[in-house]
């Protein structure tokens, strides 16, 4: 038992190879890209909206199609079923996500500079938690919008959950939702951290 713990300890104290450090730096660039590029796209298509109504989620903002008008249109339509208007200020994560991404970038920089494997393990675990938490809050928000419908709305429909990945029919709309480049960058960052650990697994201390 003791031996296993000591082996883990020794593993965590292994320094990072030059390749791993380079990879982490590369990952950091991807991470910053993730903070700047669009993360997710939600689209609503109906016969009278052939070109679709589009919302694009960034870590720091919501952008809507047709110069932002699509968000107004979606909110106008949603009032018929009593859905709460979607407003950016309700998305608290859009203030803390950019901050968190900055922290992760700094941690990645530290790992690259003075790094040992345990720095990458810390980074990887925290980032995984951050990623899961962000996805979960996003999913919860979608659920929440579809489940807190005003009972006095003109149209009463059964509560629903907008789909997170894929597409589904909601009344006359086909709703589709897909991760975009920013999310891929976030994933790539995690992969670089894991790969960096793998590459330095036998590095002499």
């Amino acid at each position: 038992m003791q031996a296993i713990l000591r082996a883990i300890d020794a593993f965590l104290e292994r320094p990072l190879s030059a390749a791993s450090r380079g990879l982490v730096l590369l990952g950091m660039v991807a991470l910053i890209g993730g903070g700047l590029l669009p993360l997710w796209r939600i689209q609503l298509v109906a016969p009278q909206y052939e070109e679709g109504l589009t919302l694009v989620m960034y870590s720091h903002a919501i952008a809507a199609g047709h110069g932002g008008q699509d968000l107004n249109e979606i909110n106008t339509l949603n009032h018929y079923i009593g859905m709460k208007p979607i407003v950016q200020s309700d998305f608290a994560e859009m203030t803390w996500m950019p901050f968190a991404i900055g922290i992760f970038a700094l941690l990645a920089l530290r790992a690259a500079a003075v790094g040992r494997i345990r720095h990458l393990v810390d980074l990887g675990v925290l980032f995984l938690y951050f990623g899961m938490f962000s996805l979960a809050t996003f999913a919860y928000r979608l659920w929440s919008y579809g489940h807190h419908l005003d009972p006095h709305a003109p149209m009463r429909i059964a509560p629903f959950t907008p789909i997170l990945v894929g597409q589904q029919q909601i009344a006359n709309f086909v709703q589709s939702s897909l991760p975009l480049a920013g999310t891929a960058c976030m994933g790539a960052f995690l992969m670089t951290v894991l790969t960096a650990i793998w590459l330095s697994r036998s590095e002499a201390s």
Binding site: A153, P154, N172
Partner: protein, 622 residues
């Protein structure tokens, strides 16, 4: 198969696909499919004529648009509730008096006159939702002959113009409720207590079509929406949907959609007629009115899915279909069962003394037609077609009788669906509201065209789509655009009517008509000047009118032509006056010569080679 042989095979198939069309000999399938293509089906060659008239309501333009089917070409505009300089409507004395104080109207649902439950081609009735009027157009000359109204005790004649089987009545119900008699103030907060709606029977003179208020039925302040008249087993009855059984006066979007059911009115109009004959009405606002809570047998309420829109009787008169706008079903009721329930007094309660029927026991079935069902039309072959506003589609489905399996899952009676562009409101099948629908074409009247036309800026036209309903599947044929805003239309077989093309001289009984230059005159009586003028290619006689400033001038203008399409106009410069006289017609204009000077007048409607020379002077001495 090696990759290489696969590649070769694919290449071979591609070559075959590219070559085959080119190899097809002329006159083969390609040519045949061209003949049955939508383009061929709607093509009316130059010189050929359309098969059907399509009478669109013009919405808040106040006019009727006449198009031809299947070409969808706009052929004429019949002005009704608004001035129309193109035909001089609203400038001559007769049409000015018809228009009264109003400059516009909001036309909704045109209804053709009927004899024995079939279009007889005599009149087209149209309503004005804004100013509570109903007008009659004579299809002999396509001219507005009467505007009745504002109708007493009524506000918002949306629920019209529904013509009974033998044109006994044009039935009207109010969209809005107001404190009665009109002109009385009451606090809108006291809506439920102080406001009322109304159902009116406008009697139609069987000889000349003249409309007059026959009777009225007082209703609770629900918002009556749309209706239809009965035939066959439902002969003598009429139906309207309502919204706002909540009786809300503000924010109706939310407050009038709270309850799961609203009421349809089932009205026995023959009983209403009889009740008035029996002296059971009271004269209110100058017309006889019945309180249905006190006169039993006139009105019943049937709960229907909330905020319904259309309620349409099928050609047999047995099935009544109400569409639940906010619920994705068309509710089918059997009138024979309704009749039985009424005879056996099977009521679940009453509203202000008006018996309420049982929704559950009278419902034949809720057909899951799709989202936002509004109106239903029939092809006379047992099929119904419902417009789906939210879904932007038309659903075709089968009327009862249904098999036990179909009853279990009414999705099985929904036969077809076709997308339309976009957000369809009304739809029309020729003769759907008669015993014998034509069953050939359906016209979808879409509320939004959303840029399907070459752009004309932000004010977009409406789109209409012609759909072939002769096959088991509906087929999209053509699209046309109209000005705002068709709310319903009527389709009439072209050979059903033979409009006149000139007014025969012998039928012109205007005492001021003149037919030759020697009959024309200018007569002064005090400061009134009466001119009897004739118009003929290419002159006005007289062509100089001398008056004094302040004179009242009356011009009786007769177009003495008896040739088709030889119209003349009289436009007077800087006098806001333009009248158009058809061949054989006499029109009268009256105005004051307020300004001194010499004002040319001229023919506005191009007539002949010397049309430009057809002019004269109004000389006003100070």
């Amino acid at each position: 198969m090696t990759p290489r042989t696969r590649l070769f095979t694919a290449g071979g198939l591609l070559a075959a696909a590219l070559l085959t069309p080119a190899c097809r000999p002329p006159g083969s399938r390609a040519a045949a499919s061209a003949a049955t293509s939508p383009a061929a089906k709607t093509y009316v060659a130059p010189g050929e004529k359309d098969q059907y008239y399509l009478f669109y309501s013009g919405g808040h333009s106040g006019q009727v648009y006449v198009a031809g089917l299947p070409s969808m070409r706009h052929i004429a505009t019949i002005p009704v509730f608004a001035r129309y300089p193109a035909t001089g409507y609203g400038y001559d004395e007769e049409s000015r008096q018809m228009l009264g104080e109003f400059t516009w109207g909001d036309m909704h649902h045109p209804g053709l006159s009927q004899t024995d439950g079939r279009y007889d081609g005599r009149w087209l009735f149209v309503n004005d939702n804004a100013n509570n009027r109903v007008a009659r157009i004579d299809l002999r000359d396509f001219k507005t002959k009467q505007i009745l109204g504002p109708i007493p005790n009524s506000s918002g004649t949306h629920g019209s113009s529904f013509v009974t089987e033998n044109s006994e009545y044009v039935l009207v119900a109010t969209r809005f409720s107001v404190p009665l008699p009109k002109g009385r103030y009451a606090d809108p907060q006291r809506y439920e207590a102080e406001f009322n709606g109304m159902v009116s029977g406008l009697a139609v003179d069987p000889k000349n079509g003249t409309l007059s208020v026959g009777w009225q039925i007082l209703t609770p302040p629900f918002n009556w929406d749309l209706g239809s008249t009965g035939k066959g087993p439902s002969s003598g009855w009429a139906f309207w949907t309502s919204y706002n059984s909540e009786m809300a006066a503000t924010n109706l979007e939310a407050n009038a959609t709270r309850l799961d059911r609203d009421y349809a009115a089932i009205v026995n109009w023959r009983a209403a007629e009889q009740a008035i004959k029996d002296g059971k009405g009271t004269i209110t606002g100058g017309v006889p009115m019945i309180d249905p809570g006190k006169v039993p047998g006139v009105m019943y309420f049937l709960p229907v899915p909330k905020s319904p829109h259309g309620i349409d009787t099928d050609p047999s008169g047995r099935w009544i279909v109400a569409s639940g706008k906010l619920q994705p079903v068309a509710s089918v009721f059997d009138f024979e069962k309704i009749r039985q329930a009424i005879d056996r007094k099977e009521f679940t309660g009453n509203v202000r003394g008006i018996p309420v029927l049982s929704y559950e026991s009278l419902l034949e079935g809720d057909v899951p037609v799709g989202l936002g069902p509004l109106h239903t039309q029939y092809d006379g072959k047992g099929n119904a077609y419902t417009s789906l506003f939210v879904e932007s589609a038309v659903a075709k489905w089968r009327l009862p009788p249904w098999s036990p399996e179909e009853r279990k899952d009414l999705n099985k009676v929904v036969l077809d669906k076709i997308p339309v562009h976009y957000n369809i409101g009304h739809l029309v099948i020729g003769g759907s509201d008669t015993k014998e629908p034509y069953g050939q074409y359906l016209v979808a009247m879409n509320k939004l065209s959303k840029g399907r036309h070459i752009s004309v800026g932000p004010a977009q036209p409406e789109s209409s789509e012609l759909i072939d309903i002769t096959g088991s599947k509906m087929g999209m044929l053509a699209e046309a655009f109209t000005e705002p805003e068709p709310h319903f239309a009527q389709i009439l077989k072209a050979d059903r009517i033979t409009p006149i093309e000139v007014y025969p001289k012998g039928e012109n009984h205007d005492p001021n008509a003149v037919w030759s230059a020697d009959q024309t005159s200018i007569t002064r009586t005090g400061n009134k000047v009466v001119v009897k003028m004739m118009a003929i290619r290419s002159k006005f006689v007289p062509d100089t009118i001398e008056v004094r400033q302040g004179d009242e001038i009356t011009i009786h203008l007769t177009n003495v032509e008896q040739t088709t399409d030889m119209l003349h106009g009289l436009g007077i410069v800087e006098h806001d006056m333009n009248v158009v006289v058809d061949p054989g017609e006499t029109k009268t204009v009256r105005f004051k010569a307020n300004k001194p000077g010499v004002y040319p007048f001229y023919c506005t409607n191009f007539c002949s080679a010397l049309h430009q020379e057809m002019q004269g002077y109004l000389a006003v001495k100070p």
